[in-house]
Symmetry: C2
């Protein structure tokens, strides 16, 4: 592309073609690529990502964006919001000096290996020097990006636009006094009620039939998507009309792949609902991790774990898995609402999940406020774990070394998981105020609910701050009370 007279739109279009081409290669790498191809595939991906990065951080990009802002009609508020978000992204990408980005990439690549070994050997000391360096780099990034009150703000808002330590602290403060109690009640109730489901096999092919039928019925479009099998489930966007999901199958437990599909289909329906005519622009892009997660959690937990949903779908499951004939719907629902205290975040359930996130938020906040030295992290983790869960991790491998995130330098990322849960509860609460949506939910017809999400969330792309989106959709600022109410209703009062 020549250096002159290229419009911002053309630049973004080109960059999107490159980025989505890389997404195709990335999808193939996880699904069907033969094993010997991995080395060359890394080179292909690296070339593509360098091409996209060069363009999106170039002076030409900045100039074209500036020119587009100059000619943008004062009254075209949507386009002004679009361009202003594109500018924020450009600055996030370019405010960091190349040396810092390179250093982070190098350090985190070593740190990831060290973390793997440290976790395997249950040896925090091995990870500590790497973690120290990554926290230093994160601090420098925060300084470069700038922040209103404290460095952690900058780290939060690079994952969740507009998020601040103050606002998140408020949300977790609301959760904290009640969440442990709800979780404890849920776990106790589970202990009394839950019988294991009949033994498998629940054949993979039958699971696929059920998963696809449900995803289709919820509104995930297979004309613009598909479901494949991978080690770790994910959702990826290969183009405005090409949003693919993956899941994994456990023949002993059909719920594992199914709730995976419901979760990823939530992400997928959000991506499929973004304005497809503006790929690569903020107007056509997801706004934040928290809003993304609100969509996946809404379909996974609020829809997929509801009794009305299973009133419709349980008979089909019984057809596909005849061993379920001996299990009554109510007993199956107890299974779906099973709660356990787990040491490990990724193995935890709806009732206990946010406790894991709260722990990480409180520790990260302390770290970046310099109230906690990294050498004391294991002790601080264990102390807080006892406080929140009433039990002590037996070792650091099952404690502060369990997650990959910190080894990648991803600080301020965890809170977006709980934001997703809070937003999901608040959104479904608001949606249920609409008669036709409530009736739909009560009869497991989700067309009206999806239409409401399309209207209130999806179609806006990244034109508004996440909290403004929630306000616009629900009539109030993000508030943790809806989530507590939901958990209490499902896990305590039911």
């Amino acid at each position: 592309m020549s250096e002159q007279n290229v419009s911002f739109q053309e630049l973004v279009r080109e960059c999107t073609l490159i980025g989505t081409s890389a997404a195709v290669l990335g999808w193939d790498q996880e699904t069907y690529m033969p094993e010997d191809a991995s080395g060359f595939r890394a080179e292909q991906l690296s070339w593509l990502s360098a091409q996209a990065h060069q363009r999106a951080t170039s002076q030409q990009w900045a100039d074209a964006l500036e020119a587009a802002m100059q000619v943008c009609d004062e009254k075209d508020l949507a386009e002004r919001a679009n361009l202003s978000e594109m500018k924020r992204r450009y600055e996030l990408a370019t405010k960091l000096p190349v040396e810092l980005v390179a250093r982070e990439s190098k350090v985190s690549s070593h740190a990831k290996r060290a973390w793997m070994e440290a976790r395997k050997e249950n040896n925090f000391a091995k990870f500590l020097p790497h973690l120290t360096e990554l926290v230093d780099i994160a601090r420098e990034k925060a300084e470069r990006w700038g922040y209103l009150n404290e460095p952690y703000d900058a780290l939060l808002s690079c994952h969740e636009r507009g998020a601040t330590t103050a606002v998140l602290s408020g949300l977790f403060d609301t959760l904290r006094p009640e969440l442990s109690g709800i979780a404890r009640a849920a776990v106790e109730r589970s202990r009394d009620r839950v019988q294991p489901l009949p033994a498998g096999p629940y054949p993979e092919a039958q699971q696929m039939i059920l998963n696809e039928a449900i995803a289709r019925d919820l509104g995930y479009s297979f004309a613009a998507g598909r479901i494949d099998t991978t080690t770790h489930p994910f959702c990826t966007t290969l183009g405005p009309r090409d949003v693919r999901l993956t899941t994994r199958y456990d023949e002993a437990d059909f719920c594992s792949s199914l709730f995976g599909v419901l979760h990823e289909a939530g992400h997928g329906m959000y991506e499929q609902g973004l304005p497809g005519d503006r790929p690569g622009m903020a107007a056509g892009d997801a706004v934040s991790l928290g809003i993304h997660e609100s969509q996946s959690r809404l379909w996974e937990n609020h829809v997929g774990r509801a009794r009305e949903f299973w009133k419709k779908w349980y008979p089909r499951a019984v057809e596909l898995f005849p061993q379920l004939r001996q299990v009554a719907l109510d007993d199956f629902m107890s299974h779906v609402h099973q709660a356990n205290f787990s040491l490990i975040r990724v193995e935890s359930d709806e009732a206990t999940y946010d406790l894991h996130i709260m722990l990480r938020f409180l520790l990260e906040r302390k770290i970046f406020r310099k109230e906690l030295a990294l050498v004391d992290l294991p002790a601080a983790w264990n102390e807080l774990f006892v406080e929140l869960f009433g039990m002590t991790p037996p070792d650091d491998a099952q404690g502060c070394l369990q997650d990959i995130h910190w080894s990648m330098g991803a600080f301020g990322y965890f809170p977006t998981y709980t934001l997703g849960n809070l937003h999901a509860s608040q959104l479904i609460h608001a949606a249920r105020q609409v008669e036709v949506i409530r009736q739909g939910i009560d009869t497991a017809q989700y067309g009206p609910l999806l239409a409401w999400l399309r209207e209130n969330i999806h179609r806006h792309g990244a034109l508004h701050e996440p909290s403004d989106l929630i306000f616009g959709a629900t009539g109030s600022a993000p508030d943790a009370k809806y989530h507590l109410e939901h958990l209490r209703k499902r896990y305590v009062d039911a």
Copy 2:
């Protein structure tokens, strides 16, 4: 990449990363892409192919190639051959003015649509003006590229390096007096002997098991490849260790997918056997369509239609398809060697295939020698068809309008199919002179045969002319007598 100080090797490497990335997107498009994605996918592919084309036809490319030739050691004959072939390719790509390339692309896009309609309506007149324009363009290309004796030479050699009208005429002259007779004998014998196989279904999943077991046993590597399902079978290279095949399934006839896989696996083993350390260089690339086809035909016909092969594999087929229990191996072999006169090339069999190609070669030669006006093409086709097949096409749709090639401006392409057959027969004849290879073939152990092909064909990439490769491997220049001998032995004398 900066404009200066980039080595030819780096340029080629980059261009290969782009080209193979496009191959991944192309493969996905044919296999798994959801339908709504096609518009955006075309844009992604078009961006990638423009990037590769720009680089491979740039002055920077020419300069870097020139510089590489300057510093290349006089005695490094392999590298000199590599660079000289790269130069030939650069010239093929750049000797045509941009306007001509654009015109061809536009004309052939219209011509393809017109051809589809003309074939459907059996209306040659509708296609004639487009064909006329495409032949004119091909003539201009020939003039631009240059040739030794006649314009058709240039068209032949752009598909098959070093091919000339004179040499091909010699090969077809050898075939002509005998081929019709062999075909006629084969068809008659078939009529007497062949009973239809038991009715299906031959379940797709069982076909896959058989196809994969056989492809693996022949030496196609699944660590560097895989088999998927598409409407039209193909083989595509996504990287030096990523060569994928496709086939299609007909549950009434398991031979259809199987021989498809054998054919594509032949292409695939060639690609997997090319020097993987030089992707994008002539040294690491296939040399020609004719040599490529020789590999596919060798494994499909010489290996896959041999009695020794089925002595090993028929019992497995019977296990997978129990209805075959009632069919003796000899009766099955008659089925595998079934011959029929078909009006349509793509439906024809080993015994009659080359007659279809001969017809096209003779007509193309006349066209480019201006001995045949295009308006007279249908009559000339039919006249020659009677001569070769002893029957008259009932209409042009089943006559000169049947193939897509001419509508794409691909003149001089058809002969590479017969070159593939001739080379395959000559190669297997030479290979069988080696004791361990003959023993292997006789017991359906193909390791020694594949090793011989790797040594004599694959590892050479595109460093030598196809005819030199054949000479080097077999000790004689390409000769049609081996193919006649093979056909006679299998279809007349057996």
